[in-house]
Amino acid sequence: MTVEKEEVTVTVNGESHVVSVEPRELLSQTLRERMGCTEINIGCESAICGACTVQSDGKSVKSCTRFTVQADGADIRTVSDLADEGTLTDIQQAFTDEHALQCGYCTPGIVMAVDEYLDHNTDPSREEIRNEALQGNLCRCTGYENIVDAVETAAEKLD
C-alpha cells in the first residue's frame, strides 16, 4: 500500500525545512522525528495534556493533534528558541525562580502556552492564570501553585 506523500514547507525555530510526509503524519511526529525537536513531549496524543504545545505563527497549538500538512507555510517555535544565547527569558527565569517545575515533562509546553497568553493579557489575575493561561495544560507533579506564581512573576517583569 503506497500512500501519496505531500511536500510541506515549515520554518522551525528560524530554520526552513521542506519535508515530504504522508497526510496522516502528525506535526508532533514531524518535529520530533525529522527535526530532532525532542523538547516537544507527548503525554496523551489527544489534545488534553499540552506537553506537546508549540507556537505556530505566534499562536500556541497542540502539535499532537495537528497534521503536518496543515502546517504548510507555518512558522513554528518551540521552547528551545526562546532563550537568547543561553540567557533565559523572563518567563523561563520565573519558572526556575519559583520552582515551577519538578520532572519538567510538562514544562516546555506550558512555557510556550504562557508565552503566548502573556502577549494578550499582560496583567492576569491568579484566577485568570489558572482558568485561562494554564487551561490547556496538565502537570502531574507541581500542583500548579508555583506555576501560577511564576506566571505572575513573569507578567510583572514584562510590564
Binding site: 520530533r32 530532532g36 525537536c37 525532542t38 523538547e39 513531549n41 507527548i42 503525554g43 496523551c44 496524543e45 489527544s46 488534553i48 495534556c49 506537553a51 518551540t78 521552547v79 528551545s80 532563550a83 543561553g86 533565559l88 523561563q92 519558572f95 526556575t96 525562580d97 520552582h99 517545575l101 519538578q102 520532572c103 519538567g104 515533562y105 510538562c106 514544562t107 516546555p108 512555557v111 491568579r126 492564570i129 489558572r130 482558568n131 494554564l134 487551561q135 495544560n137 496538565l138 502537570c139 502531574r140 507533579c141 507541581t142 500542583g143 500548579y144 501553585e145 508555583n146 506555576i147 501560577v148
Partner: protein, 796 residues
Amino acid sequence: MTPNHSDSGIGSSVSRKEDRKVLLGGSKGVDDIPLSDALHIQFIRSEKAHATFTVDATDARDVSGVVAVYTPDDIKQSETTTPNPFTLFSAPMEGVPYPDDSLRQRSFAEDKVHYHGEIIGMVVAETQRIARDALDEITIEYDIIGPVVTPQEATADDAAAIHESVPDNVAFEGGQGDRDLTDEQFENAAYTVELEKDAQRVSPTPLEPRAAIGQYDEATEHLDIIATTQIPHAYRRLLAQMLEHPENKIDVTVPDMGGGFGARQHPYPADVLVGWCAVDLERTVKWRSTRTENQLVENDGRGYEGTWEIALSEQGDILAVRADIRYDLGAWIARGAASLAEAGNLLMTGLYDIPAAYSHVTGIVTNTARIDAYRGVSATPMLMMLERLVSKVAKKAGMDPAAVRKRNFVDPDQFPYQTAGGAKYDSGDYERNFDIGLDELDYSSLRERQEQLREEGRYIGIGISCWTEVAGLGPCGHIDVATWGYGGVQVHPTGEVTVYAGSSNHGQGHETSLGQVASHELGVPLDSVTVVENSTKEVTEGVGTYASRTAALTGGAVAKSCRKIVQKGGKVAAHETGVTPDVIEFDDGTYYPIDSPEDAVTFSEVARQVHMGADIPEEMEPGLEEQTYYDPENCTWPFGTHMVVVEVDPDTGEYDIDQYVATEDCGVQINPTIVEGQIVGGIAQGLGQALYEEVEYADDGTHLSAPLRDETLGSNGGYTVPKAEHMPDITIKSTTTPSPHTPHGAKGMGESGTVAAPGAIVNAIEDAIEPFDIDPMTPPITPEKVWMAINREGKE
C-alpha cells in the same frame, strides 16, 4: 578563599540545578534518545479480561518491514530462556506466608488472559508505524470465562477462579494488632462509628508514558537497558533473575523521566520482554507506550475496600480502631503489592495514642490490572478512614473534632512511641504543629462564622486530617530486599566533588538537594558538586527512590561518606600542620589546629595532597573517595495536619475550596522550597482522589479509564487529572522536630499531600452539609454526589 556552605547547604532554598536544561528544551527522555538501528516493539494485548485464547499471527508476519512476531508459543520455543515469574518484595505481613507462587506475575499470557491489556505477544518492526499497522493483522479468538472485576465478585460463591491453584481468589489473609483487646475496648466504648469504603482505584499517571530500550551486544553478552524506572539497580537485579542473565552483564540507565509516583518502581512485563527481545534478536529494540496503553496496564494504587471503626470513651479518649479490609490486588500480585498491607497496618492509629488496634486484610485477585505502589500507598486509605472516623465520632459525642484530636495526640515525651499497629515512631511534637494550623485558620472564630452563615443559608465546612507516613523505608531485614541508602562521594584533586547516589531523580530535585548535603558537609559551594544518579554504569549500588526515602537514606549515606572524607582530610591536615588529628577543626571548608587557626589548610589543598599521595601519613592510602551503605535504625515518621475550608452550594452540590492550610514537620529540611513543592504536588494528587479520580472497569472487565479526559467525573470513559483551575492556593507552615537517628535529622516527606488531602477534603464537604443529615460520602465526591446526598429520597 573559604567557601561558605551556609549559602547552599542544608536548609537553604537554593534554586534547582536541574531546571535550566529543561527550560532550554534539553531534557532527554527514553523516547528522545537517537538510535540509528533500533527495531520497534508493539505488544499484542488482550482485549478481554478473562478468557482462554488462540492467536493467529500469519498475516502480521507477512507485513513488509516486520522483523519478528512472537506469539506465546514463539516465546516459549525460542532458544532464549523464557522469562521467569516476577518475585515479591516481601510477604504481606509478619506471620503471614508468601502467597502461592502461581500468583506471581508472568511476563505474558500463555493460553489464558487474566486482565484487559495483558500481553499475549509482540510485533517487532523497522518502524513504530509498521509495527502498529501489523498489530491490526493479528487475529485473536477468545473463549470468555466469567470475569470477576471487584473483590466482592471475586469472593462470591460462584466466582470463577482466576488462577486454578487458588480457587477462592484469596491470595492471602492476616491481621495485625491485638484483636481481643480491640474487641474488648469496643465493648466498653461510649461512642462508636463504623464507615464503609469502596476500593477507589486511582492511577498514578506520570505525564510521560512508559518506554524502554534494550540493546544487546552479542560479543560481550551485555544487555543495556534504558528505561522509565525509579529503581535502576533493583530493576537490573530483577531482570537478571527473570532473564537468567548475569547481573554484571546488564546495565540500566534512566534518562530524564517524567514522574514516577510509585508506578515506575518495579518493572512490568513489557520491560522484561524488551530485554528478552533484545537478547533473542541480538539487536537494539525500543518500545514506547501510548497514553492509553500506559493507563491500561500501569499499576493503580489503593484498592482498599471494607469497614473501618472507631471507639471513643465518654471523656473523648480514643479507645480502639478496627478495620476489615478487602484488598484488590488485580489479576497478579505485583512485586510490591503484598507488602503494602503491612505498611498500611503500621499506621492505623495515625498520630494518636490509641491503646488497641486491629486491622485484618484479605488480599483478593480480580480480573484487573495490577495494584502496586502509588504515592501514599496504603497510608492513604488507612488515614483517610481514620481521620474521617475521628471527626465523625467527635461529632457523635458532641465534641469538637479539633479538640478530640488534641486530646488524643501522642505526647512529645512518649517518643520513641510504639503504636498498637506495630510501628515505632521516632519523634514528634504533634500538638505544637497542629496549633499552628488552627491559628492560621482562626479556628474558633471560623466555627462561629460557620454557625452564623448557616442561618443565612450558606454552608461552609472545615475538614481536618492529620497524617504520618512510613518514610525512608529501612532498616534492612524489615523486608526481603535491601533497603539501605547508597551514597558515594569522590573529591577531585581540584576540590570539586562528585556524589554518586543510589536513588533516582525524576522531579524531586536530587541534583540540588543531595548536592546541598555534600556542600554542607564538605564546605564546598554547591556549584562545585555534581550529582550522578540513575545509572548502574556510573553508580555502584542503590535501591532507588520510593517510600519517601531519598532525603533521609541517600542523603544520610552521602552525609556519612562526606564525614569519612572530612575525617581522612583531618588526618592529612594534622600531618601537614604537625599536630594530632584530635585537635584539628573543620569549618566551612577549612582545616585548622584548634590553637593555631592561622595554620589553616583548605579542603581543596588537602584534596590535592591526598590525591597525589605525597606528604600524607604513612599508613594512609592516596585518594579521597568514600562510599556508604547506610542502614538506618528505623524508618522516619514525619507528620502534620491538613485543614480545609470549603463552601458548598446546596442547590447545585457545587463546592469551592476557600482555604487550604498544610502544616508539616519532616524534621530538618534540606531545601524548604523543594519540600513545599512536594507538599503541593502531593495535595494535587490527593485532591484528585478526593474529588475527581477513579479507575473504572465495565462489568465485563473492560478498562474504561485509559484516555485522559478534560471533564469531571460523571460520564464513563477516561481519567481526570486535576488542572490548575481545580487547585486552591495552599498555605504551608512548618515545624522542625528532627529525626533522632538520621545523620542530619531529616525525615522523608514525599507523600504527605496524597495521604492527608483526601481525608481533609472529604471531611470538609461532609462538615459543610452536615445540617442536611447526609449519609457518608464516597470519594471521588462530585457535585452530583453532593446534590444527591442532600436531596436523597426519603428526605423532605
